[in-house]
Amino acid sequence: MLAWTIYLSFAGALVQALLPKGRPGLSRWLALAFAVLGLLHALGGFVAGMGQGRQIIVDLPWVPTMGIHYLLAADGISRVLVLLTGLAAVAGILFSWNVELRTNEFFAFYLALIGGVYGVFLSFDLFLLFVFYEIAIVPKYFLIAIWGSTRREYGAMKLALYSFVGSAMVLIGLLAAYTTAGSHSTSLIDLAACAHAGALPISFQMWCFPLVFTGFAILAGMWPFHTWAPTGHVAAPTAASMLLAGVVMKLGAYGCLRVGIGLFPHGLDPWGFSFVGIGSWRDVFALLAVIGIVYGALVALAQTDFKFVIGYSSVSHMGFVLLGLMTLNQIGVTGAVLQMFSHGIIAGLLFAIVGRIVYDRTHTRQLAELEAMHLGKRLPFAAWSFVIAGMASMGLPGFSGFVAELQVLVGAWIAKPWWTIAAGVGIVIGVAYTWRALQKAFFSDALPTAHALEQEHNHDHQFAAITWPEVTGVVMLASVSLFVGLYPRILLDTIEPAVKALLAGGGQ
């Protein structure tokens, strides 16, 4: 059932590519149909997989001489992330309902990207995973470069090169692991079994782990390799930035967890010496994660562009995911996976509000200019959506972000208390930048400039009415976040056994 999410998306991309030009309406409805079908399959797979362990979906020999399998499988982590992808895909299409330029090509690239993302989450073969991971790079470039806004070519090229460099690092590590393990199968299950049987020497894991982990973490927005994220997010069209923050950054984090930690469990062992309190790769990456949390939040506080605020907040929130992974305990890693889901939903919502609902009407994202527009009164829907999304993003109880970040913090406390304290500072700043953006963009009392007043009087300046796709999208995303926040068990029951199995050694 889950495998159909991949095939449906690629089929959708192909159909879009072959559609006649100049039929944007048809193109939109078709894209929505394919995305909704994908979501239904993801949901069906999620429900059917409740209480189940890892299930193999397809296992065919693909390149027999090298032991490469076409191996799709799903465990709890995959199911949750596939569900996230389905939700983000549908929401993204709803918020790109107003794309008029080369509509069918837009949705072709969009669905190809979605297909690649589904594929990564469901691959249990090292090289299949890598193939899907790279498939996702090219559509991202074109989505941003063609349909983007501010400095789009720069942002798109930067994103593509960062991704490709990251995946080059991953490929080097994978080739090394493949030749070192001497395994005749590249299935992650077999390789993890090999690794646990000692086929990968600890000294090898020690240098290969950071390579692979960093390669994936570049796409997860790990400080200091995060700089592609804000520029990419800002340059991207709304749907693409929703996907970038919502699912593409999760690809990186997922790779870190599934391949990095799953395959090189000893890569995180202590080095045997320590330097200023740092005695293992675990400490290094946890430190980078904490810096990312605080740094992202501080930079978000100083932004003048509304979208940059959300872009940097993504860096900060993804820091929680990486920190959760580095706790290496049940609760922390579970929290990290839940945070991937939660941030995917919330960041998607935030980008949708800023990029689609606000920007497409006001044509500015400068907080200083938005201040003068009285958006709180003129676009009450946007304002109140942002209040909800902002509360979710700050980590207020009742929303998914709270449960996720709380678990990460508890896990971090068990591992090393100072991580929790530093990350807690990040949460406080998070409240500050969200509040600042909310207040400046929607509820400012600043007087309108003379120019704006004149414009308003002369043209009876009215913003276009809120359309039904926007309402549907906002309601969908906000209610998912709320639902998961109120009843987190629904995801945790699926995530926990999978995390337990992964931490015990992926070879189970």
Partner: protein
């Protein structure tokens, strides 16, 4: 591999070459005799189709010759089967494709001569791929190269074409001299022109205290062959030739000649690693420290030379390509870079067929992709009169199919899965690490992968113009239907072979039985 010793065997082994030569003569007779008064279009079409027919016959003979075991090869002139069969089939298929591209881009009135020269050069390529003897190698290389010089100069009305041909010829002549000089040293030292015997004698020579002259010979040969594959620092001809030659000729130079030259390099390396197979007398050579070291005699310096060429080509080719504004020159530098990756596979060559197959996989798929790339460039060039990057502006509007083909081919060249270029690179690097996973080969593979990350930038520069930037001129570009079909077939093959990488692997492996 089957080693013919009798003349009848030799004749049977050279049937493919014979078929091509007969094809070439037939083309001349038909074009200059029967169709003398016919329209140019008819003549071009008939010449191309006759040429393709010649290739098909040759292909049939290659498949007949294939399939035999490995035996001793001391008196050997040419060999068949194994990787040689695969390389020869590749040469013939790629030649046929370049001939079909001619139909859509007529640049000369001398269609018959053009096709005949292509076929003769391809025959030279077949000979080079199968040669096991210095003299045969040299004859084959010259037959191939002379054909290429003529092809480069074939657009007689174009000054660029003449300039490119002159440069190519001068560089080529010099490198042939180097090669011959190196060969003469080899012959002088070892007293044989047979590859296997030479390597054996060279082994004795180096075992008994080393022979500095051998190393001089190796460097000279590396210069000669480095020129053929456009490895840094012998690559200077490539950008000018790629830029000046008429498009079908450039496609031929970039694909067929590369396949032949790399097949020759595979022969050299294979002869080297199979030094001791079936040679009895060597059992009495005593070694103090245990098992035989894998590389002996001249193989270590040869490997060192290849490694240096490889690293230099990867780095310089990719970095120089970043700065190009002409797509043909960009393709030339990317060819230098790709040659660098392949040379790495040759430097770390395995005793089993893994390395040979990986290199063939790479060069065949690379040749296919490059022909497609030149096909697209030639169509754009005919419409806009230039191969500058800006000539590709708005291609997705002017001809969506052509733009899609360009997208697939360039992404494949950059090594993005699931296109075939990714598997080619992956196979090759896995083969290198399979031979030795020490720090040096690993660092070289890491360098190669990092450099292919760099290459994405310049391939995207072209695709960006085709898809992203606004068009200056939106008038549609028309491609000849035959060209379009060939290009679509190539793009489909690139996708299909990428999705099912074992198809081509099995095909290459099928020549070994």
């Amino acid at each position: 591999m089957n080693y013919p010793s009798l003349y009848s065997d030799l004749f049977r082994a050279t049937l493919p070459e014979t078929a091509l030569e007969i094809g070439a003569l037939l083309v001349l007779v038909v074009d200059l005799g029967l169709l003398r008064k016919a329209a140019l279009k008819t003549r071009v079409a008939s010449a191309s189709l006759l040429g393709v027919a010649g290739c098909v016959f040759a292909l049939w003979f290659v498949s007949l010759a294939g399939a035999a075991g490995l035996s001793s090869g001391d008196e050997l002139l040419i060999a068949t089967g194994g990787y040689i069969g695969a390389a020869q089939s590749g040469i013939l298929v790629l030649t046929a494709l370049t001939l079909l591209l001619l139909i859509g881009s007529i640049f000369t009135r001398h269609a018959g001569e053009y096709v005949a020269v292509v076929l003769m050069a391809a025959a030279g390529g077949l000979l080079v791929a199968s040669a096991q003897d210095l003299l045969v190698i040299f004859v084959g290389l010259e037959l191939l190269s002379l054909g290429l010089y003529i092809l480069t100069a074939f657009a007689k009305h174009s000054g660029k074409s003449a300039e490119a041909a002159m440069k190519y010829y001068l560089f080529g002549g010099m490198s042939a001299a180097f090669l011959l000089f190196g060969f003469s040293y080899l012959y002088g030292i070892t007293g044989s022109t047979n590859l296997h015997k030479i390597l054996l004698s060279a082994f004795y020579a180096s075992a008994s205290g080393g022979a500095p002259l051998l190393y001089v010979a190796l460097v000279l040969i590396a210069a000669g062959l480095g020129f053929k594959v456009a490895a840094v620092p012998f690559h200077f001809w490539a950008p000018d030739t790629y830029e000046g030659a008429p498009a079908p000729a450039a496609a031929f130079i970039a694909s067929v000649s590369k396949v032949a030259s790399f097949a020759l390099l595979i022969s050299l390396s294979t002869a080297g690693v199979h030094l001791f197979d079936g040679v009895h007398e060597l059992r009495f050579v005593a070694f103090n420290n245990g098992p035989l070291p894998r590389y002996l005699g001249i193989l270590i310096p040869w490997m060192l030379i290849l490694t240096v060429l490889s690293a230099a080509s990867m780095v310089l080719g990719n970095l120089a390509a970043l700065a190009q504004t002409s797509v043909r020159r960009l393709l030339a530098y990317s060819a230098v870079a790709h040659a660098g990756y392949i040379l790495l596979g040759l430097a770390y060559f395995s005793h089993s067929a893994a390395s040979a197959n990986a290199i063939l996989y790479y060069i065949l798929t690379y040749g296919l992709t490059t022909i497609g790339a030149f096909g697209v460039v030639s169509v754009v060039e005919r419409a806009t009169g230039s191969d500058r990057l800006d000539a590709f502006l708005g291609l997705h509007k002017r001809n969506p199919l052509l733009a899609a083909v360009l997208l697939v081919l360039f992404l494949s060249l950059a090594g993005i899965p699931p296109l075939v270029g990714f598997w080619a690179k992956f196979n090759l690097f896995a083969a290198v690490l399979g031979v030795s996973a020490g720090p040096v080969p690993f660092a070289l593979v890491a360098l190669a992968i990092a450099m292919s990350a760099v290459s994405l930038y310049y391939y995207l520069q072209v695709l960006k113009r085709a898809y992203v930037l606004p068009a200056i001129d939106e008038s549609p570009i028309k491609a000849h239907p035959v060209t379009l079909i060939v290009l679509l077939a190539i793009a489909a093959a690139v996708v299909l072979l990428g999705c099912f990488p074992s198809l081509l692997q099995n095909w290459i492996a099928s020549f070994y039985r």
